[in-house]
């Protein structure tokens, strides 16, 4: 299988702070690949190295078969990059920003119109508006249009959905999936675990290290422990439920997940149904009746927290 990104043992430090501590991975051609991790995990540093904006201290990175250090001028013409911070000209209009970016790459908006139309058409009615006066969602669409206007062969996006509401996030991912379906290779970073499902494969990254790389639905398979969901904080007393669960001898971890609690049982390999039954009994013994306990498949956030716990 052909790869558009091949990275080996990449490291970068800023003074005493190690931003990346030797990461290796590859991104296949035509893949939508996600880096999932919180602020400070190293996502931005990694994307800046891959887009030739930052030199690594160690290791190698090839994008489109070219070295990010020695072939940086060629690569800059061939990659698209949407940085995390809004970095268009706020005092230029929507149309002016777009034609500026087109002209920098020696092309025109007219020549590229078909390519960017699915996204640009949504903001075209506001072509004369200053970019600084756009709403958050429209700014993103403009930034994405600008990142695509020179016909890049691969697109890098740094946290395009951070601080964006749940509805706009879904719409943005719909756009990315359309671009992927049209054949573009896409590397995107996000702090939102629930966005993993939108990617072919994801890398979980924390503290400058990659914790795991896999398809989203495969991540849960290696969780290693039975996971139980506890519903129904009896009498609304969620605090007591949490305390009781954490006090149980077989509790590996207990975390709130929206309206439920996730209880990871230490007894790897045990029958989850029997464990659920045990847990319900333990709760009843503690005077907490009426709870519901059921075995569930671990989601990406369960996996991430478990790997974080192991790493620290």
């Amino acid at each position: 299988m052909k790869s558009d990104v091949v990275v080996h043992d990449l490291a970068k430090a800023f003074g005493d702070v190690a931003a990346l501590e030797g990461v290796s991975f590859d991104v296949r051609t035509g893949e939508l690949f996600g880096f999932i991790g919180s602020d400070g995990a190293g996502k931005t540093t990694l994307l800046r190295i891959l887009t030739t904006l930052l030199l690594p201290d160690r290791g190698s990175a090839e994008v489109l078969g070219r070295d990010v250090v020695s072939d940086m001028w060629e690569l800059r013409r061939r990659v698209g990059y949407m940085p995390g911070r809004f970095s268009l000209y706020p005092d230029l209009s929507v149309a002016e920003n777009l034609s500026f970016f087109a002209s920098v790459f020696g092309t025109t908006v007219e020549a590229q119109y078909e390519r960017i139309a699915p996204i640009y058409r949504q903001i075209e009615p506001f072509a004369d508006r200053r970019a600084g006066a756009l709403s958050g969602g429209m700014k993103q669409k403009l930034a994405l249009s600008c990142a695509l206007v020179h016909e890049p062969e691969i697109l890098f996006l740094d946290e395009p959905t951070t601080g964006v509401d749940a509805v706009s996030r879904r719409e943005f991912w719909d756009m990315l999936q359309d671009l992927r379906d049209a054949g573009l290779t896409i590397v995107v970073s996000t702090p939102y675990m629930d966005e993993a499902d939108r990617c072919e494969r994801v890398a979980l990254i924390d503290g400058g290290r990659i914790l795991r790389i896999d398809a989203p639905d495969a991540l849960g398979r290696e969780y290693g422990h039975p996971l139980l969901a506890v519903h129904g904080a009896v009498g609304g007393d969620r605090a007591r439920l949490l305390r009781v669960l954490r006090g149980l001898p077989h509790a590996e971890s207990v975390y709130p997940f929206g309206e439920t609690l996730h209880f990871t049982d230490r007894r790897a390999g045990a029958d989850p149904r029997a464990l659920a039954h045990d847990l319900l009994e333990a709760l009843t013994d503690a005077g907490l009746s009426g709870a519901h306990v059921e075995p569930i498949e671990p989601g990406i956030e369960d996996v991430f927290m478990s790997l974080m716990g192991r790493a620290s």
């Binding site: 709403s135 958050g136 951070t162 601080g163 706009s168 996030r169 879904r170 709130p256 974080m308």
Partner: protein, 263 residues
């Protein structure tokens, strides 16, 4: 890490005066109505989630409630003070932190504590005592002399929240306090929120994480300047026959007509 508080949700109909009382609050910018006659109460000690899509008017509403922006119409009291006539008293009575602005990065945690304590008029001995308590509770004594900018984001946000509570305000406004924070720290942060609420502090919080919306006693969802939904998480899910707050949110924010049509 301590447990989540055992505080039962306080009813907005309780006997105590509400911590926040909003009636017909409106803000227009030229022809544009950013906040359109919103009304709600937040009870003392309640964890109140204030949700809405980008551009729905949340920030404008929060700026009015924190005394930073005068309303065009309507009224509101925060901690018993009128936002029109006593905005400065409100600023003293509340705590505030946001993801975008929390602490001075080029000062140490201890210097930040001294600065904020001073701004809120605490006595020097009081600042020292509360500051040391705060640092030891967070396990930050060792890092008290390092610049805040060098701390991991999770620590920074927990420190910022504690500093926002330093002058023991009755109400604290948290504007996306957990944005970008790792999932374990995010949960620890909510345990701190519950602790504050258990000790009587009213918490007014915005978030884009829909699982966090489920942790609120009650929440409101703003759509185009109006409050489109208000109630406990369970009430909102029942009302909209939805499985999660995310579903409720997406339906309301997209408008009911478009909900099914979207790919």
């Amino acid at each position: 890490m301590s447990d989540w508080s055992a505080s039962a949700p306080v009813s907005a109909m309780g006997t105590r005066d509400p911590a926040i009382r909003v009636r017909g609050l409106t803000r227009r910018f030229g022809d544009f109505t950013a906040v359109d006659a919103i009304s709600f109460d937040v009870a003392a000690g309640e964890v109140f989630g204030f949700l809405g899509a980008n551009g729905a008017g949340k920030t404008t509403a929060i700026r009015m409630l924190t005394g930073l922006l005068a309303p065009t119409d309507g009224e509101a009291t925060v901690a018993g003070r009128d936002i029109r006539t006593e905005p400065d008293a409100i600023k003293r009575a509340i705590g505030y932190m946001s993801q975008k602005f929390s602490l001075y990065e080029d000062l140490t945690p201890r210097e930040n504590i001294q600065l904020y304590g001073g701004i809120y008029g605490l006595a020097r001995s009081e600042i020292r005592a509360r500051g040391e308590r705060l640092l030891s509770r967070l396990g930050l004594e060792g890092a008290a002399g390092e610049l805040v900018g060098s701390l991991p984001l999770g620590w920074k946000q927990k420190l910022a929240f504690s500093v926002a509570l330093l002058h023991e305000p009755g109400i604290v406004f948290l504007d996306e306090p957990t944005g970008g924070v790792d999932p374990i720290t995010r949960r620890q942060f909510w345990e701190m929120i519950y602790e504050a609420a258990a000790s009587g502090t009213t918490v007014f919080v915005t978030t884009h994480y829909m699982d966090e919306a489920e942790y609120c006693d009650r929440l409101s969802i703003m759509v185009e300047g109006r409050i489109a939904a208000l109630g406990t998480p369970d009430e909102l899910k029942d009302e909209h026959t939805a499985g999660s707050i995310e579903d409720v949110f997406v339906r309301l924010a997209r408008g009911d007509g478009a909900a099914g049509a979207h790919p």
